[in-house]
Symmetry: D2
Subunit: 295 residues, 4 copies
Amino acid sequence: MLGDFQVRTDLALEARESFEGDDVEIRGVRIEESADEEREIYTTVVRIETENGARLMGKPVGTYITLEAPNMSSEDEDYHREISEEVAKHVRTLLGKEERTVLVVGLGNREVTPDALGPDVVNHLRITRHIVKEYGRSSLKEKASPVSAVVPGVMAQTGMETLEIIRGIVRETSPQAVIAIDALAARSTRRLNRTIQITDTGINPGSGVGNHRDGINEETLGVPVIAIGVPTVVDAATIVSDTLEQLVDEKEDRQFFREKISPQLNTMFVTPKDIDETLKRVSYTISEGLNMALS
Amino acid sequence: MLGDFQVRTDLALEARESFEGDDVEIRGVRIEESADEEREIYTTVVRIETENGARLMGKPVGTYITLEAPNMSSEDEDYHREISEEVAKHVRTLLGKEERTVLVVGLGNREVTPDALGPDVVNHLRITRHIVKEYGRSSLKEKASPVSAVVPGVMAQTGMETLEIIRGIVRETSPQAVIAIDALAARSTRRLNRTIQITDTGINPGSGVGNHRDGINEETLGVPVIAIGVPTVVDAATIVSDTLEQLVDEKEDRQFFREKISPQLNTMFVTPKDIDETLKRVSYTISEGLNMALS
Amino acid sequence: MLGDFQVRTDLALEARESFEGDDVEIRGVRIEESADEEREIYTTVVRIETENGARLMGKPVGTYITLEAPNMSSEDEDYHREISEEVAKHVRTLLGKEERTVLVVGLGNREVTPDALGPDVVNHLRITRHIVKEYGRSSLKEKASPVSAVVPGVMAQTGMETLEIIRGIVRETSPQAVIAIDALAARSTRRLNRTIQITDTGINPGSGVGNHRDGINEETLGVPVIAIGVPTVVDAATIVSDTLEQLVDEKEDRQFFREKISPQLNTMFVTPKDIDETLKRVSYTISEGLNMALS
Amino acid sequence: MLGDFQVRTDLALEARESFEGDDVEIRGVRIEESADEEREIYTTVVRIETENGARLMGKPVGTYITLEAPNMSSEDEDYHREISEEVAKHVRTLLGKEERTVLVVGLGNREVTPDALGPDVVNHLRITRHIVKEYGRSSLKEKASPVSAVVPGVMAQTGMETLEIIRGIVRETSPQAVIAIDALAARSTRRLNRTIQITDTGINPGSGVGNHRDGINEETLGVPVIAIGVPTVVDAATIVSDTLEQLVDEKEDRQFFREKISPQLNTMFVTPKDIDETLKRVSYTISEGLNMALS
């Protein structure tokens, strides 16, 4: 979309915003916004409905729910509970009515702080599949879903595509749905650690901090895949490019500058200095949301 | 073997010793011992050759190599290199001549220190399968094996049997052999952290600190499974029972005492207070042995 | 007290119980028990009031509050909140009325799961001293205490006595009270991870899993020291000795057996296999209690 | 130096380079360069000799040794040993001839990957002070230094200035020298994880990823302080500013752009995506260097 230089965002919301003019209508894409001013939670639902919309947005057809919660990295526990409830509500909607067995996958690298969202979320999850297997369905509350979970690691640690690992486990254990948690890259630092994207399209190439090369989605796994992501980094090249963009008026000048950006920046990311504390709260909020939705 | 009360050991060496009289010959079981006095490494090979031997020993038919290295938990780096070389030698022998793709599995719970051997070993391993996939076979040394690895977690964390996870991954990625690393339970505290068992029988029910319920072996995975284990704990019930045994002469008295041992002790283990430092060295020694054998 | 062989307990409650006959009155020691049957929290206050009492009990003069909460390792969040409130109440009482600056010390070894209680508690604490220093006292709620915290590590990691580290920091930063958190050794496995001891006597020689050789108390630090401990281990020698004791009637037989117990067991401890999950909940419960008491 | 906007570097080498023209002579600053082409280790010694030089360079008077080792993040073990030897040599020179007791301080935040250098280095260090205290000086090799170590944590975790903690411990335990290890901020991404700076000036305000506000140096601690640092991050604002600088010719234009850079970028850093693997190797290399120098 931007020629040689790829401005990366994993947020459908930001892909939408990259079109000049906020009110441009994109065919095949529907947007609904709602604000809960009192609780300071802002929800945007982007529905990509056609292949044309998908092509324009650079994201697959599907529903992308974005919660923006400006205080998400603050310490207020009640506020976090409210966000957890929102997450639970949307997960339940996307999962559909009937109870299902669910495999939660914590993507990313637990050794790199901003990429540890997935492993951290799994760490606080209530795991119940083995209990149901041993004591029967009645050991859970009515409507609760038997939950299993795995932290597959990243390719440098495993030598395997994440998709290979997940697909092997799905085929062997037959969950009825997969929920994949991953750290995302945003375009704007303003969104880091205060935005949650929930989508029914799974995880698709180029997403996240690490390398999750192939899509983890209904097509590759054979069961519905809900993905929950939080942007924790901005690509270093993107941040330089975007700052330039704001400073330079002429289109050809921008192109000129972009070409000069060091390719080394593509192997780097930008993240806040207090990412450890922030991530602890955000991952706990998502775990709680999943625990509410599933048990 | 011991009636209601099960004295647990994962070491074939100790299973052998439990027969009264060191020189009792057990039909179907062959023992070879060798000592490298200079390097202070003692090797015992137990070969269980018949089903009768397997029944008597409580272990499957196969080869069990035990290295005893009294100073294994010391700081001497050269000594550790010598043990790594021994490990490498035996792994190469059990793997057989041709080069093979290998999946290393780090069993156990990384959150419980004496059960973290498997995850720690994987952490220091040279992972190469993805490099070979991208740059071709020639990116490795001649005879090196493309290596992948996974740390599946324990059932309380995943809700799945470890076997389900491994089997799924094996079916999807088709390694030609599996090497499973696991913390073991010994009968004698004297053996903790100074003994390495290498076997071609895989991991079998009841092994290790955690619950790895079903066998991880050639029968369940369809490819040869080498298991490497180090005893890091003794079952609490075993330690009480064995102390009693030493103190009481009459057989009926022993039986009487054993029945009185609190069943709660079966959920507990005994481990040395300095397990953190010791395990760091032992797991590094095994990683290096695998790196020598495979790359 | 037991001749050559030392049966170790860090719980005043258990020191009391070691006297034969539950209702023996020990001069200089007062006991109050209360039960909250509904919430299933049982409280015992042991007051050692004289040096004679201290000598008999093997613990310094002071107040020892023990909360027993049989379900403390269960998952029920509301139950944990109730225990946190009990902890907060007792900490507030022992700290006294006026607001104070408090240094919380997380003792123990974060690399050994059952010894990581102190570091884990500090990890979830609300730290405020630096905020008060920068934005003034009014940045906290009225009556809240500015809180600092440190995880000093154990001697094998630092080469220093824990007391040296703490005393240096206390002299430099002048807190008005110290709260030390530590994993304890109990005598009975039944008490592990379901008992919290809160005392105004600090930590004294021989306490805890690791080696905290010198007392961390008002005498050595110059400010009041509250210690909060949870038994997470039983000494291996203690467990063997106690089992024997139950089985053998005659006093001289007991003495005979005790002498035979392997001295190696003194370097080992016994802990439950699910210590990771249990500890996560218990340390969170204590952190919350401290956050309630101090902020 | 750059007006409102502060381009940050902790490397004396880069401070030197920021003067236009490589061969500008700065009064009070001496530079020596040497290259070991065969081993690919390049050494620059910057000596700031006068207060004038210090003012111009923005660094205190003292010696700054920089090792550049382009392959430092590669896997080659022999290469790492050579770098460790270089580190050991320089540390020995700066420590001076006589044997000394040394306190090693691992600065930074162990929860944030690129800031965990200090804690990681301490983790692999041979700690001996307590052994000497117990078994006497003869338990170490001749000329070895009794070593103690501490990981103080960062202010958000402790509520205390790092200096307060270190000074308290130094006063209590009286080491004859302090060696402080810290992650640094470089100006150029090209230097990340391949450069080691060793200086006798300690750590000074603004250094490192976290906030180590006051100097940790001979003046504040009363004993010589050697600092060893590796740049693991670039400040996000610096990277944007430097890219602009390369693109814009006119001085006033640069000033104009710099003023537009989002202040939010000052709370962010840039780091490579594979920082976990790289840091593991680099911190091990430095630990080994210290172990060689001190034991």
